[in-house]
């Protein structure tokens, strides 16, 4: 099981936060849209996964994304990323 946590600070997100968990070896992908901060667990079968979180920060605000869980490899390049860019699309890679 893996846990993905997204925390928006300094306001509310102007656009929905999009989460994609892409199994690189098949089409069994997960796509979720959220209106604000969230923490959610995912029980995924073994495989290679790319996780992408994209969205828009509140004016002057920031978003912190963290990925954790029972990975056999990763998450790469880091388990946590904080962005204050107006628009973002941050990827993580891990093997379960």
């Amino acid at each position: 099981m893996i846990t993905i946590s997204v925390t928006v600070s300094g306001g509310t997100t102007p656009l929905p936060i999009k989460l994609t968990i892409d199994n690189l070896d098949n089409q069994h992908d997960v796509k979720i849209s959220k209106d604000g901060s969230f923490t959610q667990d995912f029980d995924l079968p073994g495989g290679r996964y790319m996780i992408v979180v994209s969205g828009m920060n509140p004016l002057g605000g920031s978003t912190e994304i963290s990925v954790s869980g029972t990975f056999t490899s990763g998450p790469m390049p880091d388990s946590t990323s904080t962005t204050n860019n107006q628009f973002y699309s941050v990827l993580f890679y891990g093997e379960i």
């Binding site: 994609t20 604000g36 992408v52 828009m56 004016l59 605000g61």
Partner: protein
């Protein structure tokens, strides 16, 4: 009393100066798009005036919101679910001003607060879900980027010649390239030393061209540059709409003399509401002021002043920043208590105020008043500097 005031000011100054280390890139867009009229009332979290510190009459002033102080103590308040709930503290602004003489000895104190009862201009709570911006960013840009990210990630992690560490470095470079590409301020991407910038663009641009979309000015979008510019134009346009929304504030302030005795107080209210394109703005103000400053014994006076007018923004340039503003208003003032024999108890004025923006936060206002009853003109030049808004990130 004086000692207590000094201690309070010192604490507030420390908190305020610490808090001013926040990041400002997005805030600057916000600040630039505001009118001088709005800035004077409620836009700044901090206004630290250091005017005249070298002269005989010095003063130190702090101007902040309750939220800025609370979030310094508890950064969790900045998280969106807490931020939304903290409506009162985000809209409660207060200020203190301590005057000092030539030897830096206390010579007076002023304090007050402002509450925004209606503040529809808070851009940090913007929601653009379902708009064209949502479509252009979420579907067109992020959707295409996701395809490219999948392709390049698969290539990196499938490369058996790369160590785990090098794969991690490559994925980090890919993230940096995407960050660069999503920055509307980056217009010349060919100079990037990150090899993934060109690799992402090589795949991204054909995907964007295949979308056959058009920008808000009707021009076809054929690549990343066109799409990110359109996204930037849309977000600027949407944020500018906030500048014309309703703002209603009530405020109170008081001041003390050199002995620490309060001798002035006032209560006021301001209402602003512009049209959708923010080219003009209704401006209504009222103030009830009490003062006891007449030198010849105690003669407390009570004054009422009300104005109703329209503020016009003219000569707006890129990012809708106005460079010239004009305000016309009718003013009524009345001395409700202890009018002097030589004074008019009631006065009607026709006012005109012109503001010229010299720099982002530097305005020169020229105010001309016409006394309707006595047919007199009174004009004076006033220069003010707004140090800009602050919000901790």
């Amino acid at each position: 009393m004086k000692k207590q005031i000094t201690i309070v000011i010192a604490i507030l100054m420390s908190a305020g100066l610490y808090a001013q280390t926040g990041k400002t890139s997005l805030k600057q867009i916000n600040e630039n798009s505001k009118s001088g009229n709005f800035k004077d009332i409620f836009s700044s979290f901090y206004r630290l005036a250091t005017e005249n510190l070298a002269g005989d009459n010095k003063y130190i002033e702090i101007n902040t919101t309750l939220f800025a102080l609370r979030s310094n103590a508890n950064p969790d308040l900045l998280k969106d679910y807490n931020y939304k709930k903290a409506k009162f503290s985000r809209n409660f602004k207060f200020d203190f001003k301590v005057s000092l003489d030539s030897t830096f000895k206390y010579s007076g104190f002023t304090g007050g607060f402002t509450i925004a009862l209606i503040n529809d201009r808070d851009k940090t709570l913007a929601n653009f879900t379902g708009t064209e911006l949502d479509s252009k960013f979420t579907t067109n840009m992020s959707g295409a980027l996701l395809t490219v990210q999948t392709n390049l990630t698969t290539t990196i992690v499938s490369n058996t010649t790369l160590s785990q560490e090098n794969k991690s470095v490559a994925l980090d470079s890919l993230n940096q390239a995407v960050k660069y590409i999503l920055d509307p301020g980056k217009t010349n991407l060919t100079g990037s030393t990150n090899p993934y910038v060109s690799q992402v663009l090589a795949q991204l641009n054909p995907l964007i061209a295949a979308q056959n979309s058009t920008a808000i000015d009707g021009t076809p979008i054929t690549d990343r540059d066109g799409l990110i510019k359109d996204i930037d134009d849309l977000q600027t346009q949407y944020y500018n709409l906030f500048d014309s929304k309703a703002l209603w504030t009530v405020s109170a302030d008081g001041s003390a003399d050199t002995d620490g005795k309060f001798n002035k107080a006032s209560f006021g209210t301001i209402f602003l509401k512009g049209n959708k394109t923010a080219w003009n703005e209704i401006d209504i103000r009222a103030k009830l002021a009490y003062s006891d400053t007449v030198a010849t014994g105690s003669l407390p006076r009570l004054n009422f002043n009300g104005t109703a007018g329209i503020n016009f923004k003219l000569f707006k340039a890129e990012h809708e920043k106005s460079f010239f503003e004009a305000k016309v208003a009718l003013e009524y003032s009345s001395i409700l208590r202890n009018a002097m024999a030589t004074e008019d108890k009631d006065k009607f004025l026709g006012n005109a105020e012109i503001r010229i923006r010299l720099m982002d936060d530097l305005w020169i206002p020229l105010i001309v008043k016409y006394d309707v009853e006595n047919a007199n003109f009174l004009g004076f030049l006033n220069i003010s500097y707004n140090f800009g808004g602050f919000k901790k990130t």
